[in-house]
């Protein structure tokens, strides 16, 4: 260990941190505004349309809330991992495997399991995500390979496994698109409000964020995770196993990401579609960092990104500004937040 690694960690006041995050988001909106100007459009009008598109009607609000669910769940998982000093980039693959496992149960269990099919499929999703993260964690901890490399590779493998199943045994025949047949309605995720598309996922996601907050700040396990993340030496001295806590955060993240994948297929698409989760895991990392790795802050951060996306899609339809604008805003906010917080986001 060199001196370079034990440089003093910066400390921010709690309020100042929130201010810095908001400042970063504002800056990214300003710079994106300049891009919109360069494209010959009025940024104020564009942002107005994003807001109207996101909150303009009950239906749009519901789309945004549903969209926030996977970001929230996977974002909480990523926040826990980063707290434990595990740079887990495997959310993509874990969400995909969760969706695959849940679809499998939803397809074969709809007739035999009856009403129990939804919890069974969600459990399968969780287990799918956990299984995928256990493989990654094993390679990382047992063989000492860097976690980013392992999880990035495993994302590609997970996508290809999903593609293999959709083009093979699970695919709908003559669909013209790689997807499974639609699930029986008994396997659909229950709605939170009847006669709308709002499913119960948002409740589960908020509960997960609260639970993660409690575990992280008010339990021994959470303390161990934070300690292992903050300082190898301190953890070692306190008798906290770095490997055990690394395994703990990675599998917890796998469980949350797998659940996110299950909810997405059971609640939104009612079938498994190729590429259904594309980008979710990476957005979740941005969400977690925007939330400065605080599980409770993940809730507003995920909602922000989700509403930004639904708003931008509507803006694209209304005034023809491409919705890829959202990725610019997300990427810029992430970079600015990283710069504003520095390594401080990792502190205990």
């Amino acid at each position: 260990m060199t001196v370079a690694t034990i440089a003093p960690r910066r400390r921010w006041l709690r309020g100042a941190l929130a201010l810095r995050v908001i400042q970063s988001v504002v800056w990214s909106l300003v710079i994106t505004g300049v891009l919109i100007l360069m494209a010959g459009k009025n940024p104020i009008v564009a942002y107005q349309h994003i807001v109207i598109g996101a909150f303009g009607s009950w239906d749009r609000l519901v789309v945004g809330l549903n969209k926030a669910v996977p970001y929230m769940l996977a974002g909480v998982g990523v926040a826990l991992c980063f707290r434990g000093n595990v740079t887990n980039m495997g959310g993509e693959g874990q969400i995909a495997m969760g969706g695959l496992a849940a679809s499998f149960v939803a397809l074969i269990g709809a007739t035999t399991l009856g009403a129990a099919v939804v919890p069974a499929a969600m459990l399968a999703g969780v287990l799918g995500g956990v299984a995928w993260s256990v493989i990654a964690a094993t390679i990382v901890l047992w063989r000492g390979v860097h976690e980013v490399l392992v999880t990035l590779m495993m994302n590609f493998i997970a996508w290809l496994i999903v593609a293999e199943f959709l083009h093979g045994p699970m695919g709908e025949i003559d669909a013209g698109f790689p997807q499974t047949p639609m699930f029986e309605s008994v396997a659909w995720l229950p709605k939170l409000v009847t006669r709308t598309d709002l499913h119960i996922g948002i409740v589960l996601a908020v509960l997960a964020a609260i639970a993660a907050h409690v575990v992280l700040w008010h339990t021994v396990i959470g303390f161990r995770w934070r300690l292992a993340g903050a300082s190898d030496r301190a953890a070692h001295y306190a008798g906290v196993s770095r490997a055990r806590s690394g395994f703990g955060v990675m599998t917890t993240c796998g469980a949350l990401s797998g659940l996110a994948g299950a909810i997405e297929v059971l609640g939104v698409h009612y079938r498994l579609i190729e590429g259904f989760s594309l980008g979710f895991g990476f957005i979740a990392i941005a969400v977690a960092l925007l939330a400065t790795l605080k599980p409770l802050w993940v809730i507003p951060a995920a909602l922000f990104f989700a509403f930004l996306e639904t708003g931008a899609l509507s803006m694209q339809r209304q005034i023809g500004i491409p919705s890829s604008l959202v990725l610019v805003i997300q990427g810029l906010s992430l970079i600015f937040v990283l710069c504003a917080v520095g390594r401080g986001g990792r502190r205990v």
Binding site: T5, L35, I285, I335, R346
Partner: protein, 308 residues
Amino acid sequence: MDAALLVDFLSATVRIATPILLAAMGGILIERAGTFAVGLEGMMLSGAFFGVVGAYLSASIVVGLFASCLGGLLFAAIVAIATTRFDTEHMVTGLAANLLALGFTSFALRTIVGRGQAPVIHIPLLQPVPIPILADIPVIGALLFRQPPLTYLAFVAVIAIAIFLRRTRSGLLLTASGENPLALFAAGTDPIRIRFVALLAGGILAGLAGAVLSLQQIGTFTDGMTGGRGYLALAAVIVGRWLPLGTLAGCILFGATEALQLRVQAFNLPVSSYVIQMVPYVAALLVLAGLGRTARLPAAIGQPFRRD
């Protein structure tokens, strides 16, 4: 398997390996200097985009090539400023640059270039330049010496970087910055500057890797056209254990598996193309797990360095 099929397979391998190889060479420079090169994907995409836009607006492919260098440089500079000036976490910064590049290129293609719609752009491709005499050797000539210019550049870059890292003062300084920045600093060289410059140089190579796709192979730009090749380049660097020749081998392996995947039916293989597509990633994982702790990263990679 007859000879024509084999030659076709091998030339496809070279074609597919070329962009990955150029990006991986950029990745070696960046990582040996002590920065994780997750941002390769974004630099590549930006290079592909600016290359096409430059060539389209100026009607000159040379301008396009310069533009693609600048495109790679732009995102390398973003990563460099964030990681050196603001001490940000390298992996996540690279990821942010990738997100940003994906959004920016797609947005700019439609608005700034295309007036609201994705414009239809067709660029005349970079043509093969046969090397006299060598190009006439049977099989090998067509395979190695009748290639477009950027393919030659990629292979020259492998040799140049191998010599640079082992045999030049600057190369040794660069490696030292990734292994022990403190010692380097004590010896009177600023590791932060070296990391910065290495990132910019790597960005140029990654930008040209994007140009391989857009100007040499496809002739237009589509959203996210790099399709994860930047991450594959990263994997090739790891499989090649941060050495130029090893990385070349890794790139050829990845190129061969993808070429094989495209020819599953021609070769009558009993597995699906998706399973074959997994091979490079599984191979990378197995190599990583097999090497374990001996797959030694540059010792100080990812660690911030402060002058104080």
